[in-house]
């Protein structure tokens, strides 16, 4: 029985490995062909030397960071308060945090542009709209990561202990609760980073000079550089997931499921 099990399991696993790695291997090989006749890292050099790459990439890193900070500031107090004081709000809050699954990104940006591109609501060009939109996009992952973290600690006892020692609300939130759920927050943060860094749809339609639209333009104009960009993106995604994995082995693996297709 066990022996027979081995064979089909190995075969399926082998097919899986081929399907996973063949595109990556091909992309890597392709990215080395920028110089005629020899394998070289020319395409990577071209990408890294391109000022537009540096500009758009640092732009995206900046907005990803702002999105993460804004998300933490908004969702930690909310999730904490829902657990502590207004459990009646839980259903409504959870429903809202799942809404971004129901509204695909292209439909969402359609709504945003059509809502906020006419006076008196002309804020479509404001950089804050991009942070808000990315916060919405990462909300299902960020909020749920934080909420899972809060479930694992005794919020009520920690709060009462802090209060009886004379702590005020900011102290409780930032010096008691936040450090206790830092692993959960890191999970949410790196997942948000992986989603936001190469995000195309929102950045494109809100006309922001981000990394996603930059890659798309390269895809239309260059041959080998897009392959190098794909390898770089894959490395970034891998690094984000690897950090989550290293911090949170065994806890809530559901949190690593995302998407920005």
């Amino acid at each position: 029985m066990k022996k027979r099990g081995h064979i089909w399991a190995w075969v399926i696993f082998a097919i899986g490995i081929v399907y996973f790695f063949l595109p990556l291997l091909a992309t890597f090989l392709f990215s080395l062909k920028a110089r005629l006749g020899v394998l070289s890292f020319q395409a990577y050099e071209n990408v890294l030397r391109d000022p537009a790459f540096v500009r758009s990439f640092s732009y995206s890193v900046l907005w990803a960071t702002l999105t993460i900070i804004f998300g933490i500031l908004l969702f930690v107090p909310t999730a904490y308060w829902v657990r502590l004081r207004v459990p009646q709000a839980r259903t409504a809050v959870e429903f809202i945090t799942l809404l971004p699954f129901v509204v695909p990104a292209i439909v969402y940006v359609f709504g945003l542009v059509r809502t906020y591109s006419h006076p008196p609501l002309l804020i479509v060009n404001s950089p804050f709209l991009l942070v808000a939109a990315y916060t919405v996009l990462s909300m299902p992952y960020m909020y749920r990561a934080i909420d899972t973290g809060l479930r694992a600690i005794d919020v009520r006892t920690l709060t009462e202990a802090a209060q009886s020692l004379g702590a005020n609300w900011p102290t409780i939130l930032f010096r008691i609760i936040l450090p206790n759920i830092r692993v959960a927050i890191l999970n949410g943060a790196f997942l948000s980073f992986a989603i936001v860094i190469g995000e195309y749809i929102l950045a494109q339609y809100l006309a922001k000079p981000a990394f996603g639209p930059y890659m798309a333009v390269q895809g239309q104009n260059k041959a080998y550089e897009p392959a190098a960009l794909a390898i770089i993106s894959f490395g970034l995604t891998w690094a984000s997931m690897g950090i989550i994995d290293a911090f949170g082995r065994g806890r809530g693996q559901g949190a690593t499921i995302a998407g920005g297709h």
């Binding site: 399991a9 992309t27 709000a89 894959f234 499921i257 998407g259």
Partner: protein, 299 residues
């Protein structure tokens, strides 16, 4: 909920601080305000304008009826077809992969690497994913080159990366890792005792699957496949970067409508987007219902 039930529920939750409850709501107001401004209001704009005449603002079903054109119906049909095909394909293969990692007697590190890789691959999507498959299977791609060398150029046999089947192959790259991630806990929930019990009672392998394992797994299998359906249905960036917007998907048409009114009717953009939300809402509802049935066995 009847009034009596509501009273009972509130009585259970009542605490000494109950009379302060109205003030406590203030603490979650920033969240609700944010959600209203940047999610609910823009989304409801789509719903409201679907039922509004784009010139007179009068209430109308014109935009819904207007969806009944060959072009828009094709867009929905192709989107639904590609989502069903990749949900089934990704779902079935992802299930086998997860099952062989969990129950196939493989070394345990392989399960760990599969989960890590699935986490990465299900998040590796959009523009760079399209680039990876262009490097693999475009006419100048690496695999195409290898196949040409052995006399099997796929482009001589009607294959292109830029149409339905090509895009399906690309979508599978994020579909089956997602299946692996979600279905693995359900497979873990299949207890070894059930297999042993059915073997002791003389059941064949087929009978075990037909009467024990499959009925238990079915809700989570179907539920996860519905999720995969939604995942593919809402996808845009991958398809756009791969085909340059040449494939007719609902998402591609909505994007084109947003750049410039390609449907020659601003109202139709709203009703197309509204239609997508309806399909996604149905899918998520189906997933939630099936997920609840699954949870009975996952203790």
């Amino acid at each position: 909920m009847t009034q009596l039930e509501a009273v009972k529920r509130d009585a259970l939750k009542a605490r000494p601080a109950y009379h302060k409850m109205s003030w406590a709501w203030l603490g979650v107001m920033p969240f609700f305000l944010f959600a209203f401004l940047f999610l609910i209001y823009p989304a409801s704009t789509i719903v409201i304008r679907t039922f509004q005449d784009s010139h007179t603002q009068a209430l109308t079903l014109k935009n819904i009826i207007g969806l009944n054109t060959p072009f828009i119906k094709t867009a929905y049909w192709v989107s639904i077809k590609i989502s069903v095909v990749t949900a089934l394909g990704g779902g079935i293969f992802g299930f086998f992969l997860a099952y062989s990692a969990v129950r196939g007697g493989l070394p345990s590190f392989m399960r760990g690497s599969l989960m890590t890789f699935s986490g990465v691959a299900s998040n590796f999507a959009g523009v760079p994913l399209a680039f990876a498959f262009l490097a693999l299977l475009s006419p100048a791609g690496v695999l195409t080159g290898w196949l040409k060398d052995i006399g099997l150029n796929p482009y001589d046999h009607g294959f292109t990366l830029y149409t339905f089947w090509g895009l399906s192959i690309v979508y599978m790259f994020f579909q089956f890792p997602l299946m692996v991630l979600i279905i693995t806990p359900a497979i873990d929930g299949l207890r070894r005792e059930w297999l042993e019990a059915s073997e002791n009672l003389g059941a064949t392998s087929f009978q075990y699957w037909r009467y024990v394992a499959l009925p238990i797994l079915l809700p989570s299998l179907l539920g996860t496949m519905i999720l995969l359906f939604g995942n593919a249905f809402g996808a845009y960036a991958t398809a756009f970067a791969l085909t340059g917007g040449q494939i007719t998907l609902v998402t591609i048409v909505i994007g084109a409508q947003l750049r410039g009114d390609i449907l020659n009717d601003p109202g139709l953009g709203y009703s197309m987007a509204f239609g997508m939300v309806i399909v996604m809402a149905l899918a998520i509802t189906g997933y939630t219902i099936l997920q609840r049935r699954t949870e009975r066995w996952l203790r």
